[in-house]
């Protein structure tokens, strides 16, 4: 279980170093867990250890039990063949935040990606990173090495919001380029046509990848807290429109609800996990989602 008390989101929001942030988040998260059932179970035997509450019964060595009348758990050298692809949207809309404080959606997405990659490498999984806006800007193939993490962190730290969002096109390109089956984690605000994005994600599924979609939305986008007539400028297109929030809010909220529901329904349709993130919420939820999916993959 995550331990919210160990991860103060306000503190994390002020940590600029991706590595430090990832370390703080992941170590705190792991400490918050009971004994990890997902750690170190592979094919290479390493040692025995005494059974403890929480261990899965399937890992009990029954032969040793027959001889000693005690429960022992077999531990194996950690080893993985899982390749994780972290796909981060760096379009201009990802640079939005409601107030001067707090993180932009891109910063939040980068921290999720950093934490996940740190955790993956710690889990002996290979973590790769792709950053895109209208096109693919950065591609780091999956690796398990610690040094690879630094490249990922550097790429995430230097990522800046760019042009318009065009999610489907880069995703199709990525799907075509991924040869090895693995776990694809898309971190984006998904401000594109849901049908096209779902179609692109289906491309991943068609190639045998497990897909997790983290939709990152600013709290202001989810609650629309404006109350005076405002001229809004689209961060991506530069288009301007005058809006009376008092009259427009119900329309906006309804449109947003339909938009989010379309993604949720679309992801469920292709058996992809979908999770909506509010940038004002803690990061560890992303780690939980990852672990859940990871455990399903064995």
């Amino acid at each position: 279980m995550p331990n919210p008390g160990a991860l103060d989101f306000n503190v994390l929001a002020r940590i600029d170093s991706m590595q430090l942030l990832a370390k703080v988040v992941v170590e705190g998260f792991v400490l918050g867990l009971h004994r990890s059932p997902y750690r170190g179970f592979s094919v290479e035997f390493a040692e025995y250890r005494q059974y403890a509450q929480g261990d899965e019964v399937k890992h009990v060595d029954w032969k040793v039990y027959g001889k000693t009348d005690r429960y022992y758990i077999k531990q194996f050298e950690e080893e993985t063949n899982l390749a994780c692809y972290l796909i981060v949207d760096a379009s201009a809309s990802m640079g939005y935040r409601t107030g001067p404080e707090g993180m932009t959606k891109l910063q939040y997405a980068s921290r999720i990606a950093a934490c996940l990659s740190y955790f993956m490498v710690r889990q002996r999984d290979a973590a790769g990173l792709m950053i895109f806006d209208t096109k693919i800007r950065t591609v780091l193939p999956p690796r398990m090495r610690q040094t690879h993490l630094k490249h990922i962190f550097a790429a995430l730290e230097t990522a800046e919001p760019g042009g318009e969002t065009d999610i489907s096109q880069p995703l199709h390109q990525l799907a075509d380029g991924l040869k090895r089956k693995g776990l694809v984690i898309l971190i984006s605000d998904l401000l594109d046509e849901p049908e096209q994005v779902i179609s692109a994600l289906q491309h991943f599924r068609f190639q045998g990848h497990e897909v997790i979609v983290f939709q990152v939305m600013d709290n202001g986008e989810l609650t629309f807290p404006f109350n005076t007539i405002t001229e809004f400028t689209d961060l991506e297109t530069g288009q301007k429109t005058l809006v009376s929030p008092e009259g427009m809010k119900p329309v906006y909220m309804e449109e947003l609800r339909r938009f989010l529901a379309a993604y949720e329904k679309g992801c469920a349709g292709i058996h992809a996990d979908y999770k909506l993130f509010d940038t004002s919420n803690p990061l560890e939820i992303a780690l939980s989602e990852y672990l859940y999916r990871r455990s399903r993959m064995g």
Binding site: M94, I229, T230, E236, T241, L242
Partner: protein, 673 residues
């Protein structure tokens, strides 16, 4: 043409700018903000903004309208009447001169001053341009000249103005003047009050009305040339009608000294028949009063005109009309040698206990009574007499029609059917059966209850120690029916009527439904029997309609064929008492038959005045003052002045209510969006 009752409120129309200013100072400034996407704003964003701006503009307009309507309602607009609007019939000034001709204006120099002021009040008016009216008032307001343009005629009426003897009612006169000005199309409406402003004359004002808003009140107070106050009679009483009983009667007056100096050795004299009969000297402290009482025995029948004079000018006139001993005919239905069993014995004894009795009773048995006996009587008492010969019954009816009285005392000799047949038309009730009293408090007897002490017969017993009418016990009594047209004066303990009266013609028939016999009641042996019987007989013989005292201005009841002689000895064609004094009705023989005492208002003797400002404040309407709920006479004022014009005010009021509701709805909708 629209005009305003309270036009000063129109300045508040500037308040209509307040909603606009509030909007300008608090309106939403357009903010500029970047947003991740505009995809969720749909195409209706501009429409929403336009709608919001329209709603805001509409709301401002509505609020401006609301303020304007509110101001208009307070300003109370109205359509001027056609005549007024046309302007052709609009006069410059409509003035009603209200002149006080009450008794207090008779003081030295006041009459001349009154005439002069009255004429002066019309001086500034111009023939053909202005209108005027003249009201002369005492306790009533008389329009001497209605509102018109013939100023010469009005001035001629003013010359004839002279004070009378009546009391003063200032508010009634001013109210009348206000009524005269109602609906008059004039640029200026004025009421000019010329009076000594007697405080007593202002006392009737109850504060329940005000002058119309467009009527200006001018007060011209008059003061007597001789400001010294003289003693005045403020209260007086004297017997009007007396029975010749040899008892002294009381004539009393209360004399007031309204000055700041004591009034010593004031002679108060009683004059009878034109000569001084008695006098007393009194000392009255400043602003004090003194009561003076004379006792006199009027020992001869007929009118006794007299006066009580205090000083040289103050007089109270009275006429004590003394009636001869009242002939009472007692029709005995059960004569007996034993007084205890004789139905008339106790009645006769009670009516004439001695020589000084005002009654002259005569007993006749029922079988021997004749119509002549009845005609000669003033009161007839039927003591246990159930039936009389037919002509006697007719005579009894004639007695009642003339104003005489009949008292029924039915006992055991009376048969119900016979009684009802003989006296059903004249008795206060019919008889059904004899009842025996139910047992109560250890005895079988009923007492009188629910006695009407306001009745003249019983009011003498209303005070403590003046006789207990509940002491007599009645063992037997008659049950009555058909009492609907009668007044029940007392009941038995079981609630059944005991004493009843019924007016028939000019007379009264009364019944005590129990015989005054020892086996029926102990009433005759009780101390209250004699005074009760006397009161009854006196009441039946002497009643109202024989007034001898009148007030100035009243019509005197001079019999047909006779003429009225006024106090100055002149014969008056009209029977109206114009001045105080002793009037006489002169018969064909040239001798006075009746005398009438006429007095003015005693309240006029009080020289205290009311301040002009008090009257102005009480009935004048301040600028902008609304017609209040305490103003039932609003109709006399602006509101009713031109009834159709109020319709505009009601339209505006309805508009205000509707606009308020619309503002509420729109502002609520605007806030929600």
């Amino acid at each position: 043409m629209i005009s305003f009752t309270n036009s000063s409120f129109l300045y508040a129309l500037a308040g209509a700018a307040v909603p606009i200013l509030i909007h300008l100072f608090t309106r939403d400034r357009v903010k500029r903000a970047a947003f991740s996407t505009l995809r969720f704003f749909a195409k209706g964003a501009k429409l929403v903004v336009r709608r919001k701006k329209f709603q805001e503009a509409f709301l401002i307009a509505l609020r401006v309208l609301l303020v304007a309507l509110l101001v208009s309602v307070f300003a109370r607009p109205y359509f001027k009447t056609k005549n007024a609007a046309a302007g052709a019939d609009v006069v410059q000034t409509a003035r009603v001169v209200v002149t006080d001709v009450s008794g207090s204006m008779r003081r030295a120099g006041m009459a001349e001053a009154l005439k002069k002021e009255t004429l002066g009040a019309f001086e500034s008016l111009k023939e053909g341009e202005d209108k005027a009216a003249l009201i002369a008032f005492d306790e009533t307001a008389n329009v001497r000249e209605p509102l018109g343009g013939n100023l010469a005629q009005i001035k001629a009426a003013a010359v004839a103005i002279a004070p009378g003897y009546g009391s003063t009612d200032l508010s009634a006169a001013l109210r009348k003047a206000n009524e005269l000005l109602r609906g008059v199309a004039a640029k200026r409406k004025e009421v000019v009050l010329i009076s000594d402003l007697s405080r007593e004359g202002w006392r009737p004002f109850k504060g329940d009305w005000k002058l119309a808003a467009d009527v200006q009140l001018t007060l011209r107070p008059l003061n007597p040339a001789d400001t010294r106050s003289r003693p005045a009679i403020v209260e007086a009483s004297a017997p009007g009608a007396l029975v010749l009983d040899g008892q002294p009667s009381s004539i009393a007056v209360r004399v007031a000294n309204f000055s700041d100096e004591p009034c010593n050795d004031l002679e108060v004299a009683l004059e009878l028949g034109g000569s001084k009969a008695d006098s007393q000297k009194v000392n009255i402290r400043p602003h004090g009063t003194a009561a003076v009482r004379f006792r006199h025995v009027f020992d001869t029948p007929g009118d006794h005109p007299g006066a009580v004079k205090a000083g040289k000018e103050e007089a109270f006139y009275f006429n004590a009309r003394t009636l001869p001993r009242i002939p009472v005919l007692i029709i005995n239905g059960r004569p007996s040698a034993n007084p205890q069993e004789d139905a008339a014995f106790f009645v006769a004894k009670a009516l004439s206990p001695g020589e000084g009795s005002p009654f002259a009773p005569r007993i006749v048995t029922a079988d021997k009574v004749s119509p002549k006996d009845v005609s000669a009587a003033g009161v007839v008492i039927l003591a246990d007499a159930g039936a009389v010969p037919g002509p006697v019954a007719d005579a009894l009816d004639g007695l009642l029609q003339r104003g005489g009285g009949v008292l029924f005392l039915p006992g055991g000799q009376v048969k119900a059917e016979a009684f009802n047949t003989a006296f059903g038309a004249m008795a206060p009730c019919k008889l059904r059966q004899i009842l025996t009293a139910r047992p109560a408090n250890g005895e079988n007897a009923e007492s009188l209850t629910r006695i009407d002490f306001e009745h003249p017969v019983f009011e003498a017993f209303s005070q403590p120690h003046h006789g207990d009418l509940t002491l007599p016990k009645f063992a037997k009594y008659w049950e009555t029916t058909d009492t609907q047209r009668s007044r029940v004066l007392a009941r038995f303990g079981d609630g059944r009527p005991a004493i009843l009266e019924r007016g028939i013609g000019k007379g009264v028939a009364m019944a005590l439904v129990s015989a005054v016999e020892s086996d029926w009641t102990d009433f005759a042996t009780r101390s209250v029997f004699l005074p009760t019987l006397h009161q009854m007989a006196r009441y039946l013989a002497v009643r109202g309609g024989q007034r001898t005292a009148f007030a100035c201005g009243e019509s005197l009841p001079v019999p047909d064929g006779e003429t009225l002689r006024d106090p100055a000895g002149k014969t008056s064609a009209e029977n109206v008492a114009a001045q105080p004094g002793l009037y006489a009705a002169i018969g064909k023989e040239g001798k006075p038959d009746f005398c009438y005492a006429v007095n003015g208002s005693f309240a006029e003797g009080d020289p205290a005045t009311v301040a002009p400002g008090e009257i102005q404040a009480a009935i004048g309407r301040a600028p902008g003052e609304m017609l209040g709920g305490v103003d039932p006479d609003a109709g006399l004022c602006a509101a009713e002045e031109d009834r159709p014009k109020d319709s505009l005010w009601w339209v505006l009021l309805c508009g205000l209510v509707l606009a308020s509701m619309a503002e509420l709805a729109v502002s609520n909708k605007t806030l929600r969006h």
